[in-house]
Amino acid sequence: MTINAIQDELISDFELFDDWESKYEYIIDLGKQFPPLEEQYKTEENIIKGCQSKVWLNAYMEGDLLKFEADSDAIIVRGLVSMLVKVLSGHTPEEVSRADLYFMERVGLHQHLAQTRSNGLAAMLKQMRAYGFAFQAKSINV
């Protein structure tokens, strides 16, 4: 599935919720179901420090595809992180670096991306794109 197809799917998932409670219960559920990052990857290098919650991001190549794993110590951020991973993991580095992420705004969660200092999500997204650029550069060098 393309990045945009995954985003569209998420948008239609969120259309089912007509109040904030069901929307956030869904995000909390996503957070609970998201597999935790193995301890060995929760390194200082992989940490994206927000002001309040921590986010860890691990990236690696599998064949031609850039894969992400992530975690957070706050459950709602974990749910949001799981969505970013769902959308951006498993595409080529070029696709990741060029991706136009519109789903957060469409599902009314863009304020979580704007609060850069409070949860590290915006920094995480920036880092995901940076990995996209970095792995492209690597493949060109090879």
């Binding site: 956030y24 110590d73 979580h112």
Partner: protein, 408 residues
Amino acid sequence: MSNSLDINSIRNDFPILNEVVNGKQLVYFDNAATTQKPRLVLDALAGYYEHYNANIHRGIHHLAEKATSAFEQSRRRLQAFLNAAYPEEIIFTYGTTDGINLVASSYGRTFLKEGDEVIISTMEHHSNIVPWQMLCEERGCVLKVIPINDDGEILMDEYEKLLTERTKIVSVVHVSNSLGTINPVKEIIEKAHAVGAKVLIDGAQASSHLEINVQDLDCDFYCLSLHKIYGPTGMGILYGKRDLLNAMPPYRGGGEMIKEVTFEKTTYNELPYKFEAGTPNIADVVAAKFALDYVDNLGKPNIAAYENKLLTYATEAVGEIDGLKIIGKAKHKVSVLSFVIDGIHHQDIGVLLDQQGIAIRTGHHCTQPLMNRFNITGTSRASFAVYNTIEEIDKLIRGLHKVKKMLG
């Protein structure tokens, strides 16, 4: 007498309290971060720009005179608010942080030498830690930290042990922003003076709740921010004893702070202008007077009594919530309620309360060393002001139950 306050009428003075957030009427419990502004402060700001906006002190036209007079009236108003001996002891800054930096830089770099000691406490805001760390690093001074007990109170015995003849500055917070603790600053000052040290009090959190009398406290410096006293953002003051301020070199160079400038040599203006380089924040300074009038009109003892009632009610009510632990149980507290809930990240609490229109603050509150002392990464903090109500606290309690249910 707290019942002398008409809270409904007070609420009507604050237009922002009518805001609707996420479909609910705003409940604003983030007053330790900044308080909301009454209508007369908003009117004063607009009135300044509409009727007498002009640069101050050097103009000879009508508007400049009017603006200068209002600006200097605010200085005298602040002098009265703190019971300072002289108006020139009031230096306008952009806030508490700015005032502390001024003292650390101007006084600290002039009078501190290698091996001298600076004492702060465990519960300091980063803005009362970092400027001293910078100074100590540059001058080879030693930074010492007063420990606290589990209730969040300064250990006075330990403090006394830290004081030596090398102690040059003691800089402590009057009221903790994270815990609400009211520190025994008068005693702290007395003991510091006994070894010849100067004392700065960070009054950012105290000034909206407590009566401040700098002459009675005998502090050498006192800093505060007006936006925490129902006044405008971007302005505060540094109070300093006149002799000390006179002995200190200017902190910034520029217009207003000079007497005469040649390329060879500049002579500096007198107090307070020596420390007020550049065009100041005239509008906010002018409006600040109205915030202080508002507070004094209600009466600080009345405000404190009412806020204590809110704090007592809230403290008892959150006590019923399973797994909730209050951080900061000092005997003497202002209306700050900091807490953690077992197994729930403070940020999740903040996000889910915000969805219910309730504004609290979550995180380390710029006191990371204090959080480390309690072995936590942050707290949820509800802080109450004179316009808050028992009904709003009930909403917070219901909100917290909902948060627990959703995250359970």
